[in-house]
């Protein structure tokens, strides 16, 4: 009877279909949550992140982490579009730390306080990094790493020009905390000394044009904030809602005039070279002094050039000030996988193993107290150039100035960059700065209502 209703061929076909269906269904043992992370695609970032992800997935086989990688500029635009659309497919976003306030007022980030113990919140990171990830009492973005600014010195070019280089950390000399403190406290060059040396280094020879000095992130706020800060200038009011009177203050006008002179008067730096290419020029022996971040160390080491690392300069009569702050990690408020995403966030930002893998692969100054202490104590950081992290630790503790906390940081950063690019190209700082301040205020007005 059964054979009549279901001939053997039909039964075997049904059995086959059922078996196939079962094989396609995920079994409980292999069911995995996928966490999607919106992050950078620049240089070695994705490769370094993959190593941390591998470490995390080995410990958490039920969670997979996948990255959506974008170049630096496009990342901010993508975050704006996808967060505004409340895109639940994104679980984690890389947050450039000054944007914490902006993302907070727009409701993009979920508070992280619940995913850390009170002890962890109190003691994992250096206070300035933890504070930078906090807005209106809520911890919204955990520090993934910090950053420090140095002055890289091309020793060969100094020697060829017959100049004495600034006191700096060099190969074959041990890097002790005492030596770092000594050169940072007593032998730090002023910008005036930098210009004098740069004038003598700038020349056109048989090997092409050599420039006296360059900035790594030309015209960007992160790089140039230290100029105004060194003269006591702020960019916005303490509440972050007003730029006129700050962005165009006398201190900033003086700093901007000095910046203008580098390109238009003394002509010790080139126009037209975009950020990111200046470090390559230094690595190609085309620049005498480069003001840049600690992430360049491995590039210059690989390039095989003879270089030293000196503390970031300051204006004579002013105070030493250096750029700081870097990438934090935030949890998308609209995420459907908050628990799993927070586990990875905890692993890479606070866990001993995860944060160590990130530091060792990425090579950026860490934000955790444990790693900073290790840098000061472990013998491997007594050797140049890795020992330069000790100078980074010194700057983070003594001269680092965080970027302004304002909900209009996106606008401020963009207008700052176009204003200083215009000044670099010859615009009068006394006109460009007030015009820039008015533009920033036009955008900040919406947050004052």
């Amino acid at each position: 009877m059964l054979n009549r209703l279901f001939p053997p061929r039909i039964l075997s076909l049904l059995g086959g279909v059922a078996a196939l269906a079962c094989s396609l269904l995920p079994s409980p043992a292999t069911a995995a949550v996928t966490v999607r992370w919106l992050t950078l695609s620049d240089d070695l970032w994705p490769d370094c992140a993959k190593k941390v992800i591998a470490g995390f997935e080995a410990k958490n086989p039920d969670i997979k982490v996948e990255m959506d990688n974008y170049p630096f500029r496009q990342l901010f635009e993508t975050i704006e579009v996808r967060m505004k659309a409340q895109d639940a497919d994104v679980d984690l976003i890389s947050v450039d730390v000054p944007l914490v306030a902006s993302y907070s007022v727009r409701g993009y980030l979920a508070p992280l306080d619940a995913y850390f113990t009170p002890d962890e919140l109190a003691s994992t990171w250096v206070a300035s990094s933890k504070q930078a990830g906090t807005y209106q009492g809520k911890f919204l973005a955990a520090p993934q790493n910090n950053s420090a600014q140095f002055m890289y010195v091309n020793l060969d070019l100094f020697q060829k020009a017959g100049l004495t280089p600034p006191a700096c950390l060099v190969a074959d000399e041990p890097v002790t905390p005492e030596k770092v403190a000594a050169i940072a406290d007593k032998d730090r060059w002023t910008w005036e000394q930098v210009v004098e040396a740069a004038k003598k280094l700038t020349k056109t020879g048989p090997e092409g044009q050599v420039w006296g000095m360059e900035f790594d992130q030309v015209s960007r706020l992160y790089q140039l904030q230290a100029l105004g800060e060194s003269l006591g200038g702020q960019l916005v009011s303490p509440d972050g809602l007003k730029a006129t009177g700050y962005f165009d203050s006398d201190a900033w006008k003086k700093a901007a005039k000095w910046y203008w002179s580098l390109f238009n008067d003394w002509k010790v730096s080139p126009k037209g070279v975009p950020p990111g290419e200046t470090a390559n020029q230094f690595a190609a022996n085309k620049v005498g002094l480069l003001i840049g971040g600690e992430w360049n160390i491995s590039t210059f080491k690989k390039a095989g050039i003879k270089f030293g690392i000196a503390p970031h300069p300051y204006f004579s009569g002013g105070k030493p000030a250096t750029g700081t702050g870097s990438w934090h990690l935030g949890l998308n408020k609209a995420s459907k996988n908050k628990e799993a995403a927070a586990k990875f966030l905890h692993y890479i930002t606070a866990d001993d193993e995860g944060s160590r893998i990130w530091f060792e692969t990425r090579g950026q100054l860490p934000a955790t107290q444990k790693l900073l202490t290790a840098i000061d104590q472990l013998p491997q950081y007594q050797v140049f150039p890795e020992g330069a992290y000790r100078l980074g630790v010194y700057e983070a503790r003594h001269t680092a100035v965080p970027r302004p906390q304002t909900p209009g940081y996106l606008q401020l950063e963009d207008i700052f960059a176009s204003t200083f690019e215009d000044i670099r190209n010859g615009s009068d700082p006394n006109e460009a700065l007030p015009a820039g301040a008015r533009r920033v205020d036009r955008f900040l007005a919406q947050f004052r209502k």
Binding site: V81, V105, G107, P270, G272, V273, Q411, D414, D422, S427
Partner: protein, 290 residues
């Protein structure tokens, strides 16, 4: 009777195109217009509030908007006539038959095969103030180095040159096709009657090319009003906002500053500008035709 019977068929045949027009043109424009009357709420991500004409009021009170409008108008007042005239001259040239014309045609088609972003990157290297090829060439003929893209008086015109290099061959193809549709007999008859080349061009070629010219002029204008890639890749609207066209300002407002209401208001202004420019072109060319 025949016309009456064919009306439903015409409607059915037009329907797919009308649906596409509605979905891909009218609906997005309506959405843009609606969005330009709204502004982001800071209480909840993704939520917007109705603010009436406030985005337009703010826009018209912003000096940068007027600067961007001026830059957009200035660019289009020059680039459209330049591109159409050059495309016409090239079309007349490639329409000739002489030994080696195939090589020149191939050369003229090369820019069409290069994408605009790649063209921009190549031109940026060539226009580099320190080590660019163009400045080296200028040096050989005794002209000093030019800042090109980093000078507020040269940047817009440098972009115009790049966009023209990229676009003119494309528009030339349409005009060339129009030229080939003109019967040779007309030129022969005019030649026998003693008309010279210039006279034949203005009395025969140009009048018979009017439809192709209208198409090229209208489409080129619409494309150039929305020109964005060179500003995005080469100048980011600078120096001193000298290349900050409305399209780039709209992009910046929407995707960098997160002010979508302002961006959509800018796009509506741009739409109005393009419509007016195209309507004027239709009006004058039709009037000449009649």
């Amino acid at each position: 009777m025949k016309a009456k019977g064919s009306a439903p068929l015409a409607f059915v045949l037009l329907l797919p195109a009308m649906v596409c027009l509605g979905v891909f043109r009218i609906y997005p424009i309506a959405l843009t217009a609606w969005g330009s009357l709204r502004r982001e709420s800071f209480e909840e991500a993704g939520r917007t509030l109705f603010v009436g004409a406030q985005n337009y009021v703010d826009l018209f009170g912003d000096p940068l908007f007027w600067k961007s409008l001026w830059v957009t108008t200035k660019l289009n007042a020059v680039i459209n006539p330049v591109q159409v005239v050059l495309a016409l001259l090239l079309a007349v040239m490639v329409n000739q038959r002489f030994r080696g014309i195939g090589f020149y045609r191939l050369l003229l088609f090369v820019p069409i095969g290069v994408s605009l972003p790649i063209a921009c990157v190549i031109w940026r290297l060539m226009l580099d103030p320190q080590s660019g090829l163009i400045n080296s060439l200028l040096g050989w003929v005794g002209i000093g180095r030019q800042p090109f893209l980093i000078d507020e008086h040269q940047a817009l015109w440098s972009i115009l040159a790049i966009a023209t290099w990229k676009g003119v061959s494309f528009w030339m193809i349409f005009l060339w096709a129009g030229l080939q549709a003109i019967p040779l007999e007309l030129h022969e008859a005019a030649r026998i009657d003693g008309a010279r080349t210039v006279r034949r061009f203005f009395r025969i070629t140009l009048p018979l090319l009017k439809r192709s010219l209208l198409f090229v002029l209208v489409t080129d204008t619409a494309v150039n009003f929305l020109l964005f890639v060179p500003m995005f890749l080469l100048t980011r609207g600078g120096p001193a906002y000298s290349t900050n066209v409305l399209m780039y300002e709209a992009y910046k407002s929407g995707f960098i500053y997160g002010e979508m209401g302002r961006a959509l208001a800018l796009v509506m202004v741009l739409l109005l500008l393009v419509s007016v420019a195209v309507a004027l072109q239709f009006y004058f060319l039709r009037q000449e035709e009649s």
